[in-house]
């Protein structure tokens, strides 16, 4: 089902009712129960989900590395099952948990090889390869064998090889896994630059919410083999934005009777959590409507207390994700 909150666009990637169950002698695992989504050309979309949610199986099913039990996958309106060769020309990927590159080849040799087997001639695309190396900060490692690189550079080499294929659609499965903060930041910056300059369609699967929130405009959350949320990140966060405020007031010289203030607050705002310290009073409160904050301010004003700070609790993607997955687990469990 397409998400009604998102505007109708022509989908470059279309996944309809994808299902996959793994069966072996010991057990049966329903990895994908039913997954449908569409991604427009030029979108950078995050694929989020807890371990075992079905993210990697979904990606590999789209790429043709896993044969789904049923469902339709179309890339550029090409049915991947009916015409895998044509579909493969349009897709590249960095896969999680795999080396993705030959460690006895240099960075440049890997790019030449992987682009070449995708029909992209290295000699004709030398400038573009150099641009990729520069963007990913790999120029100095160009002629180094991959086995001699740090894990950050290895990962960036894998990304460079995937991008060197010049495919319109790129999957990056856990691209920042195991990277230090600096390498992760560099890779994210490179991805954002590449996306804005090349308008490629990029699907990033990651456990790291910061990565998704930083580089993607939209997120698809998968849990228990289903899509449980599919929205623009800002819209998704707004769903979880609360009217939770924390107000800190100081017990200054004007405040004659703090006990009266405490009594008034307890009576007027029974839902509030009020903590008194020797110098301040902290009020944590969730308002049911947006105007209640004025009532609180009026009350404080009556006691002539100095308001030190008013902060609204911020919702990040991690909190939203956990909330969605918990709800889903509650429904399924």
């Amino acid at each position: 089902m397409p998400n009604p909150r998102l505007p109708e666009k022509h989908n470059y990637l279309e996944v309809q009712d994808l299902k996959k169950t793994f069966v072996d002698k010991k057990r049966t695992v329903e990895a994908i129960k039913s997954i449908s989504f569409g991604i427009a050309k030029g979108e950078m979309v995050g694929l989020l989900g807890p371990n075992g949610a079905g993210k990697t199986t979904t990606i590999k099913s789209i790429l043709g590395l896993i044969k789904p039990d049923s469902g339709i996958v179309k890339v550029d309106s090409i049915d991947c099952a009916a015409n895998p060769r044509e579909a493969a020309k349009r897709m590249a990927a960095v896969l999680e948990g795999a080396r993705n590159t030959y460690w006895r080849l240099t960075v440049w040799e890997n790019m030449q090889f992987f682009a070449g087997i995708h029909g992209v001639c290295a000699a004709e695309n030398k400038e573009y390869f150099e641009y990729l190396l520069e963007t990913l900060k790999l120029q100095d490692r160009r002629d180094t064998e991959v086995r001699n690189l740090s894990s950050g550079y290895k990962q960036k080499t894998a990304v460079a090889c995937a991008l060197a294929k010049k495919t319109p659609l790129v999957f990056l499965d856990e691209p920042t896994l195991g990277l230090d903060v600096e390498s992760s930041y560099e890779l994210r910056a490179a991805l954002k630059r590449l996306q804005s300059e090349e308008q490629r369609t990029i699907v990033v699967s990651s456990h790291d919410m910061k990565v998704i929130q930083d580089v993607c405009s939209r997120v698809i959350i998968i849990s228990n083999g289903r899509v449980v949320a599919d929205d623009n990140i800002d819209d998704l966060l707004s769903l979880f934005r609360t009217r939770n405020y924390r107000i800190v007031v100081s017990k200054n010289a004007y405040m004659q009777h703090p006990e009266l203030l405490m009594a008034e607050l307890s009576q007027g705002f029974p839902q509030a959590d009020i903590n008194e310290t020797p110098d301040t009073v902290e009020i944590a409160v969730e308002f049911t409507n947006p105007f209640e904050i004025y009532d609180l301010i009026n009350t404080l004003s009556g006691f002539r207390v100095a308001v030190e700070s008013i902060t609204q609790e911020q919702v990040d993607l991690e909190k939203a994700f956990l909330e969605i997955v918990r709800r889903e687990d509650g429904v399924c469990g």
Binding site: D24, I66, E86, K89, N100, Y102, L105, C161
Partner: protein, 257 residues
């Protein structure tokens, strides 16, 4: 696209061969030493004890065929297993050219490397034993490539098994020595043995290298058996590999090791 992929595959295979040059030379030395040990061992106990083509001379062609088979099937089978282990197999499967073609591309390059290696070992064999061999290259090459293609069929079968069962390199070693058994079956007693893989190739090579026969002078029936066996075993290998590939994709095993 195909030409670019072929060039990329050859360049990668050549580069890796250069990086593993030490391995290439140790293979030549090891194979030469193994031959000399067998040769002198057989000579010491008497040729009758080992029926490789009926004569001690048969040992030469038997060993050469064995090396062709070994390099041919190992190229594909070990590569499939190693690529799965190192995590590059899935990347190869993402190529629009297809894994089988990529295996064929690198295989065609490795066939030339194998030819070079076997030529050097054959030269060592001739120089160290004093055995006279007829080295008519135009008669030897069709047999070499025919047997190599049959070996590729075997390689596809074992490569297919490696996709599903993964760690089966020890089984490959059993096959390596099992192949020797094929050459030891006497045709006089078991006429059907000539239809087995590699056996007609060995027979033809023996006639060419020992008796000086030209490839074109070989009995038409033998050539037909050789041609049919080459095509049939290659296609059989390809068929088994395709089935294994389908199963591996259904079970999600391509990327697992």
């Amino acid at each position: 696209m195909w030409l670019i992929a072929l060039k990329a595959s050859w360049r990668q295979t050549l580069t890796l061969q250069i990086r593993y040059l030490f391995n290439f030379f140790t293979s030549i030395i090891t194979m030469s030493i193994v031959f000399l040990l067998i040769f002198h061992g057989v000579k010491a106990v008497g040729a009758g004890a080992l029926d490789l083509g009926g004569t001690l001379e048969g040992l030469f062609t038997g060993y050469i065929i064995w090396m062709i088979v070994l390099t041919g099937y190992q190229d594909l089978a070990y590569n499939a297993a190693n690529e799965a282990q190192t995590g590059t197999l899935e990347q190869l499967y993402l190529s629009p050219v297809g894994y089988k073609w990529l295996a064929f591309f690198s295989g065609s390059f490795n066939a030339l490397m194998s030819l070079a290696m076997i030529s050097v070992i054959t030269a060592v064999m001739v120089l160290t034993t004093g055995q006279k061999l007829h080295l008519d290259i135009f008669s030897i090459l069709p047999v070499f490539f025919g047997v190599y293609i049959q070996a590729y069929g075997l390689g596809f079968i074992l490569g297919g098994l490696a996709l599903i069962f993964k760690r089966i390199q020890s089984f490959f070693q059993v096959v390596t020595f099992g192949v020797i058994g094929l050459f030891m079956i006497p045709w006089s007693k078991y006429p059907w043995a000539k239809y087995l893989p590699f056996t007609m190739g060995q027979h033809l090579l023996q006639e060419i290298m020992m008796e000086g026969m030209k490839f074109t002078q070989a009995p038409k029936g033998d050539l037909a058996v050789f041609a049919v066996a080459t095509i049939a075993y290659f296609l059989a290998g390809l068929g088994v590999f395709s089935m294994a590939e389908t199963k591996a994709k259904a079970m999600g095993l391509l990327g697992q090791y």
